[in-house]
């Protein structure tokens, strides 16, 4: 008779530590570079050990306009710079494309151009995200200025800082494409063999 509710107790016992784990406090920084070169930094405290880039930005106390569509959530404007939500990429409808490029501060102090949208990317506690208005393509986009987590969160400074001299390049993915090609050929062959056996 008592056997059946036992699994319910197990379930609750599993959820309670997870809930407690989620209550751990984290901190991450946001760096926003406006077209005139003004650098705004914000430090955000959150519950848990990580937060999405989107939540980090919206909780930073900045004026943010976003649009959600089938391509995910896009950041249209920050602090009045950018486009309205109903035409999120109004400045990117052909050549001279400008929008808010999204960056992550790497452990070695360089900035990496994000290959994911802000809603998908998870910023770990101690991380810093960057947003820069301007040319947005991975090769053309100017990186945010050289900063550390301590600059943003421990000193809470918004002093002008020296921008990184070179533009950060997206990480190469040669091995990934090689494995993808092999998987594609393997699966294609398997399908072809299955059809032939029929």
């Amino acid at each position: 008779m008592w056997k059946r509710p036992v699994w319910l107790v197990w379930l609750i016992a599993l959820f309670v530590p997870l809930t407690l784990l989620a209550q751990e406090q984290g901190q991450a920084g946001v760096v926003v570079v406006l077209p005139d070169g003004t650098v705004t930094t914000r430090c955000v405290s959150f519950s848990g050990v990580e937060i999405s880039g989107y939540d980090l930005l919206t909780q930073a106390g900045l004026d943010v306009v976003v649009a959600t569509g089938n391509a995910g959530t896009a950041v249209c404007a920050i602090e009045g710079t950018g486009c309205p939500a109903d035409d999120c990429f109004c400045r990117c409808q052909g050549p001279d494309c400008q929008y808010w490029s999204y960056w992550h501060l790497q452990p070695d102090g360089t900035w990496a151009y994000s290959s994911a949208g802000a809603a998908q990317y998870r910023v770990k506690s101690g991380g810093v995200d960057g947003w820069v208005w301007g040319a947005g393509a991975p090769g053309d986009a100017p990186a945010p200025p050289a900063l550390t987590f301590a600059d943003v969160c421990l000193l809470e400074t918004a002093e002008p800082v020296t921008p990184l001299p070179e533009t950060a390049e997206p990480a190469t993915n040669q091995n990934g494409y090689l494995v993808f090609g092999l998987l594609l050929v393997g699966l294609g062959t398997a399908i072809w063999l299955s059809r032939r056996r029929r």
Binding site: L8, F15, C92, Q93, Y121, F180, L187, A190
Partner: protein
């Protein structure tokens, strides 16, 4: 080649659920392409001639991709790479037609096509009877209705083929829309006859003649509490996500338990009992593992590669080899029949 042994429908349900989660979460077209090929392989291995109408999948896939790319590029004008320009005065479609919007549309078309192949594979492998058998006793009436609904199109297609063959033997040829009358009328009549026959068979088996359909008071209270927990938890997620999801989970567990409790009062007799052996266990494990790898961000893989957003500027999607390899777990139902056949051959010698 015949399948040596069928796989239990419950294992197939886990596989389909895993595929759905992976396709919806991993929105990078490179991962979607791998999942599409996996679903195609499974469908080819489990294809049973005559069981379901076979569609021209290559043409259908190309059509879905092109249509989605066309629609998206006409309606979304975002992107730097302008292919051509339509007059701005044209409502909805006027403006730049960009490569990035077309790629985004094609990626969405690929997702839809992968879902189609997944369900086609599932339909090939699992009979409607097996699906209905999985429905709890509480929902027995719904199960019968579901069975009728999911067999309607295959039954009608089979009947259409029979009528066309019968008319062809009599020398009838389909040239214009008027020639379809000798096919459509018998199809309609046969459909009505089938409905009458089904209704008589259901009444003869006591469908709807349930002696005790009421719910006890404590069960009604339990139902109310569980539903309140689900909807209350949903609302709570807006303020406290963890507590909200916990409440939803408790509500769902409560609903499942009540449904199971009530279902015990309904007796099922089964001609074929279900089977659960190591192949089913293996299918479930290999389907759950990729889902856990993708949903629990605790593994040393690059989770940012799961998403891909071509607009506003085109860039090749990134690919994590370990995430890609983990998706191959979903291909277990495709290669498992070969192992089973080998074992069967060895046992018979």
């Amino acid at each position: 080649m015949p399948i040596a042994r069928r796989i239990d429908a419950r294992a197939w349900l886990v596989w389909v659920a895993g595929m759905l989660v992976l396709v919806m979460v991993a929105r990078n077209p490179l991962y979607t392409l791998l999942l599409m090929l996996v679903a195609w392989w499974v469908m080819e291995v489990w294809r049973q001639n005559g069981r379901f109408p076979q569609l021209p999948f290559v043409r259908l896939g190309v059509f879905m991709l092109l249509l989605a790319a066309l629609l998206n590029s006409l309606l979304a004008h975002t992107g730097e790479t302008v292919l051509f320009r339509l007059p701005q005065a044209w409502p909805w479609v006027g403006g730049n037609i960009t490569l990035e919007a077309a790629i985004m549309g094609a990626a969405n078309g690929l997702v839809l096509f992968t879902l189609l192949l997944t369900f086609q594979g599932f339909n090939q492998a699992v009979s409607p009877g097996e699906i209905v058998r999985l429905i709890p006793g509480t929902w027995r009436d719904m199960g019968v209705v579901l069975l009728i609904a999911i067999t309607y199109i295959p039954e009608t297609t089979r009947q259409l083929r029979q009528i066309r063959e019968a008319q062809a033997i009599r020398g009838h040829q389909l040239r214009g829309w008027r020639d379809w009358r000798p096919v459509v009328l018998p199809l309609l009549v046969a459909g009505l006859e089938r409905a009458m026959g089904l209704a008589e068979a259901m009444v003869a088996r006591g469908y709807g003649a349930t002696a005790d359909a009421g719910l006890s008071v404590w069960m009604q209270v339990g139902l109310l509490v569980s539903l309140t927990a689900v909807f209350g938890g949903w609302a709570l997620t807006l303020w406290a996500a963890t507590a909200g999801w916990l409440l939803i989970a408790l509500g769902v567990v409560g609903l499942w338990w009540l449904s199971r409790k009530r279902g015990r009062r309904v007796l099922y007799t089964r001609y074929h009992a279900g089977w659960w052996g190591w192949p089913e266990f293996f299918v479930v494990i290999t389907a759950v593992l990729p889902v856990l790898i993708i949903l629990l961000p605790i593994w040393p893989v690059d989770y940012t590669t799961l998403s891909y957003t071509p607009p506003p500027q085109f860039a090749l999607p990134a690919f994590d080899p370990w995430l890609g390899l983990s998706l191959l777990g979903m291909a277990t139902p495709a290669w498992l029949p070969f192992i089973l056949r080998q074992r069967q051959t060895n046992d018979s010698h």
